[in-house]
Symmetry: C2
Subunit: 206 residues, 2 copies
């Protein structure tokens, strides 16, 4: 059985939702960032990166959201969550998720995790000030060029959808005016109405 | 035929090497960052993100290195560059490449591209000062936990190898002491000795 290590209000929600969408048999373990549990020896033995998510499988432990999303999609092909047998269509899915992890999520992280990239407080404050612009530019690109509609990849719901939904939880806190990105906000609402998102969120809030 | 848009001394080298490893029929177009060609209208029509690499295929244009590497591997299965039919082994490949794009490459980018995340010069200088530490921590994790040896994934050379090799070109400039990461440096040398790396680098330097 799969076991997901997650923390509340983090990108691990994306994998959590996809496990629900896939109908997977899985359990969850909550990691408490407030007490820095991600840096505890027990958790570092699971994931030496001291991050969530991590997914325990019968062959070993996986990390990194884009990899885990594809793993779940590929392990539960009946759910049709990624076109893994069509190299081009699959690459489009992967490109979108790669943009989320390496550009959008990174831009967002400069609001709360600036200490990763600078030590002095003035620099960290300067990073925070730019988040509305840097994150906003990512959402404008998604709104204009990347989100095909109704789902990210068009007619088919894929692993891209819960991942975008998860990051889009934070856009107001990042200082983005939702009115500038109506298609992203409408997409977020439609993912929130799916049973899988509801179940994953309810479990994380419980 | 595939067409790769690349720029010298960027992560596009990874895809360039993988195209060589795969024996692909492809052409290249050099984008000149010195004249900001990546922001020209012609290039923005190829890739609205104003970044390299981009890969023109007969079905459309792909971006994002992790996606492109898998696309090439999947399109040329005889080269056996990624275990796409083994969900767990493939996820390990993907997790490594995702770490490179979203953590290592991002840490590195704070040396030359700090303006992405802050506007004031003092903050950009503070980011630059932390690069040896933040990039160094990534390489120590790779050295200790991720690089299985002799190749990243063990006995088989995969798309992870030219990607790590490409980013490792910059480690001295990032202020990393190569003596601290002997396995990474040895890996870099062994990739550099492969014909594919030699051909791709020679073309980019020509």
């Amino acid at each position: 059985m799969l076991k997901l290590y997650y923390a509340a209000d983090t990108c691990s929600l994306a994998t959590h939702i996809v496990l629900e969408e896939a109908g997977a048999d899985y359990s969850t373990v909550r990691i408490d960032f407030a007490t820095s549990q991600q840096r505890s020896p027990d958790y570092l033995a699971v994931n030496p990166k001291a991050r969530v998510p991590a997914l325990v499988t019968d062959r070993g432990i996986l990390t990194e959201t884009p990899a885990m999303l594809v793993f779940v999609a590929q392990s539960f092909p009946a759910a049709r969550l990624a076109p893994v047998d069509d190299a081009f269509a699959f690459a489009e899915v992967q490109a979108f998720n790669s943009y989320l992890c390496s550009t959008l999520h990174v831009a967002h992280a400069h609001r709360m995790r600036g200490h990763r990239w600078a030590d002095d407080e003035a620099a960290i404050a300067a990073m925070q000030r730019k988040v509305p612009q840097s994150v906003g530019a990512c959402y404008e690109l998604i709104e204009r060029d990347l989100l095909k509609g109704p789902w990210v990849m068009g007619e088919h719901y894929t692993i891209c959808d819960p991942y975008l939904f998860t990051l889009a939880q934070w856009l107001e806190q990042d200082g983005i005016d939702p009115a500038r990105i109506p298609r992203v906000v409408d997409h977020r609402r439609r993912v929130s109405e799916r049973a899988a998102a509801g179940k994953a969120i309810a479990r994380e809030l419980a």
